[in-house]
């Protein structure tokens, strides 16, 4: 049929026609509602690369602030052929297989500590990974025979976590970070890495972070071995731990 096909190397958004580039934007400008403010909003949308921006809402939300909704056609294109989305490498294995592999490859249970750091009281995320009931129908780490999984809960001070990790000879530390305002999660996650390095423990451990606002790229950047975002299932984490342990075993690296 005669509908044009898309060119993956030159993708544009689809509104109701191929490559029409339709996008919607909203933002608040610190200007009182006026024709001038609307024009400013159009120009701002223009700077974002939107052709003939259509301001569908110009709503005063405070004496000095106006909220805008804008529709228009973006000129940009993105090359999908040039993208390789980086994700934590994890083989597709079931719980029994992972347990079996761990037994076979290491002949012991892997010690895994998990918690939310410092002021962060959100446990639902870390619980989803650890609790037997797990997440989205996928069992949690405590259900695995291959892991000695210990969920320390929330609000665990960095320094306490590091102590426990040493005492337990932990193979891996899994931290959950939910509150991100003013980058507080970055601060706490970095504190942990620094302290582990100071204590010469960093290389003996697999360090994993997760949370609603995290992804693999950010975790890597912060010096973690992997990062997991929204919707993560415990199985994927378990598979990653198996994989990473094996890699380390193979490669040189201390211990």
């Amino acid at each position: 049929m005669s509908a044009p096909r898309r060119d993956p190397s030159r993708l544009r958004p689809y509104g109701d026609k191929w490559n029409d580039g339709v996008v919607q934007v909203s933002f608040t400008l610190p200007l009182p509602h006026s024709g001038l403010a609307i024009e400013a909003a159009k120009r701002y949308a223009g700077k974002m690369g939107i052709r003939d921006p259509y301001v569908t809402l110009a709503q005063p939300v405070a004496p000095e602030f106006t909220f805008f909704i804008v529709y228009g056609k973006a000129v940009h294109e993105v090359d999908a052929t040039a993208i390789s989305a980086e994700e934590a490498a994890a083989p597709d294995l079931g719980r029994e297989e992972i347990d079996a592999e761990i037994a076979k490859r290491f002949g012991r249970r892997l010690v895994v500590l998990g918690c939310a750091l410092e002021s962060d009281a959100h446990t639902v995320g870390i619980d989803a990974i650890f609790n037997p009931k797990g997440f989205a129908g996928d069992y949690g780490l405590e259900r695995y025979a291959g892991f000695d999984a210990r969920n320390l809960g929330a609000q665990v001070p960095v320094e306490r976590l590091v102590r426990l990790a040493r005492d337990a000879k932990a193979d891996a530390i899994l931290v959950s970070a939910t509150v991100t305002q003013n980058e507080i999660h970055v601060r706490h996650l970095t504190d942990l890495v620094d302290m582990l390095e100071a204590e010469r423990l960093r290389d003996d451990l697999i360090l994993v972070a997760g949370g609603a606002r995290l992804d693999h790229a950010l975790a890597k950047e912060l010096g973690y071995d992997a990062g997991f975002g929204p919707g993560t299932t415990p199985g994927r984490v378990a598979a990653f731990l198996l994989e990473e342990m094996t890699r380390r075993r193979a490669g040189p690296g201390p211990s």
């Binding site: 005669s2 509104g15 109701d16 026609k17 191929w18 569908t56 809402l57 709503q59 909704i69």
Partner: protein, 519 residues
């Protein structure tokens, strides 16, 4: 659902009686006439199709030529039959000759024209009956659809883009797909031909476009495990022809209102009321569910004031539809959720209106239209209004739910707009599934009182219309604040007084054997 409003059965009866009176008046005045579009529809039903070098449809050519030669008053069928009886190989050849006035002049009534037509009539009736049976078969092949049926529109102007979007909507959960017509198609006195890829505000209704979309929806039926209903617009100057096309291509629903064209498209009242009858006879035979357009009154004039007019119009549409052979299950009555969201207790009025319609038209599907008039560029506010609309629809047991679009005030729907609407309706329909069974209304409360007022208002209006007659009532602007004098508007010239020996073999067939067959 037991009735909750305690509406007076007598008053409802009286409204139906008055609507009957209105319809009788219409029949008396329109019966002696036919129209060019009605005759073109007859030709299409007899197998005349295609366009000439100037892209003019052959049925138009034939009818023009018959008119030019003073033959039309007998009915086009007479002459096609005569040409065949005189030896033409088939409808195409016969049409070619008839469309040339010089040749048409020469063709005189053949004594055996009826016999010559009989096989064509029979095969068409068979094809239409077959499509109706096929529809029933497909619907029966799957678990019954959950109500209200989710009805999504596509309107890109390009039938191929429409197909992409229709399939996406069907996969997402849409149960009815309407291809919105290109604006002003209803003003064309012919039906465009072939697949079309450009339109304005919608896509042209052509038989080929019907076929393409039908095939696309049939294609995904196994994948989604549902048979998706296909909808188009059977109104405007070509009402009867579009009905014929729909019957051939197995459409499931048609927007088919006796008055819409008059009020909203300024089409001649006389012309429209003649055309609507034959279009509905075809829809009846094809087992199509029609949707009336009372929702438009609410978008055009004040929704609170128009409520009685909507109800009165529904009674009239119902009567005219029954007269044309449609059965109650085929008569989808339209109304809408159009009250200003800023109005105090406005939601209560909406509930009253929707519940009343449900309790008055117990055997007919209700077509519930979304907020449009009070939709603005605040798309979040729009999404919110649509949520309340879905909830009201579920709480009052509506049948066909036209999905509101958060961008209603901006543009015809984007792919994502439609997905968001379907997701919203599915979620709320499930989350509130049995709400209508759970709630009752305070006996003398605001909701009940409003419902009674509206019914009384409709009764009064019907009294007036029955008194004046529909034509004068329309001229005085009884609906949607719009005045439509009898002789005004487009297409008046297409009305033709019938010859005493006028014949329309399909009407005659359906008069003999009522459409009920289709159900």
């Amino acid at each position: 659902m037991p009735p909750k409003l305690g509406l007076s059965a007598e008053r409802i009866e009286n409204c139906r009686r008055l609507a009957g009176k209105v319809a009788d008046g219409v029949r008396r005045e329109t019966e002696p006439f036919t129209t060019v579009s009605t005759e073109r529809a007859v030709l299409r039903l007899l197998g005349v199709d295609g366009v000439d070098e100037q892209d003019v449809p052959i049925p138009n050519r034939v009818v023009e030529s018959l008119r030019a030669t003073g033959k039309l008053a007998r009915g086009a069928a007479v002459w096609l039959g005569s040409a065949l009886a005189a030896g033409d190989s088939g409808p195409t050849e016969a049409a070619r000759r008839l469309s040339d006035p010089s040749q048409a002049k020469g063709i005189s009534e053949h004594p055996r024209w009826r016999e010559a037509l009989a096989p064509l009539v029979a095969s068409t009736l068979g094809r239409i009956r077959g499509n109706a049976a096929e529809r029933r078969r497909r619907l029966a092949a799957h678990p019954p659809d959950e109500e209200p049926l989710l009805y999504a529109i596509v309107a890109t102007g390009n039938i191929y883009e429409d197909i992409i979007q229709a399939e996406a909507a069907a996969r997402a959960g849409a149960q009815c797909i309407a291809v919105i017509r290109s604006t002003a198609q209803s003003l064309l006195d012919h039906v465009p031909h072939g697949a079309t890829t450009s339109g304005f505000g919608g896509t042209f209704a052509t038989q080929e476009n019907f076929r393409l979309m039908r095939a696309a929806l049939d294609r995904i039926e196994p994948e989604i495990g549902r048979s998706v209903r296909l909808v188009n617009y059977c109104s405007g100057l070509c009402m009867p022809e579009i009905a014929a096309m729909g019957a051939f291509e197995r459409l499931d629903m048609m927007l088919n209102d006796a008055l819409y064209g008059i009020i909203f498209r300024d089409i001649n009242p006389f012309r429209t009321l003649i055309d609507q009858n034959f279009s509905r006879r075809i829809n009846a035979a094809a087992g199509i569910v029609i949707n009336t357009g009372e929702d438009n009154y609410l978008t055009t004039a004040d929704a609170v004031e128009q409520a009685p007019a909507v109800l009165a119009s529904q009674f009239i549409n119902e009567r005219l539809a029954l007269d044309a052979g449609l059965e109650r299950w085929q008569i989808g009555l339209g109304h809408a959720f159009e009250i200003d969201p800023e109005l105090e207790d406005g939601l209560l009025l909406e509930i009253a209106q929707a519940e009343a319609a449900r309790e008055i038209f117990t055997e007919s599907p209700l077509k519930y239209m979304p907020p449009t008039k009070h939709m603005t560029g605040n798309v979040l506010r729009g999404y919110q209004q649509n949520a309340l609309f879905v909830l009201t629809s579920v709480a009052t047991g509506q049948s066909i739910h036209l999905l509101g679009m958060l961008t209603e005030a901006l543009h015809t729907p984007l792919l994502s707009d439609r997905w968001l609407a379907i997701d919203q309706a599915k979620t709320i329909r499930t989350n509130a599934r049995h709400l209508s069974e759970e709630i009752a209304f305070a006996p003398h409360g605001r909701i009940v009182r409003r419902a009674h007022e509206v019914l009384e208002g409709a009764e009064a209006l019907l009294e007036r219309i029955a008194g004046q007659g529909l034509f004068d009532a329309l001229a005085s602007g009884v609906f949607a604040d719009t005045r439509r004098p009898r002789e005004s508007g487009r297409g008046r010239e297409g009305v033709v007084e019938r010859h005493p020996e006028y014949s329309n073999p399909f009407r005659e067939a359906w008069d003999r054997e009522p459409a009920g067959a289709a159900s």
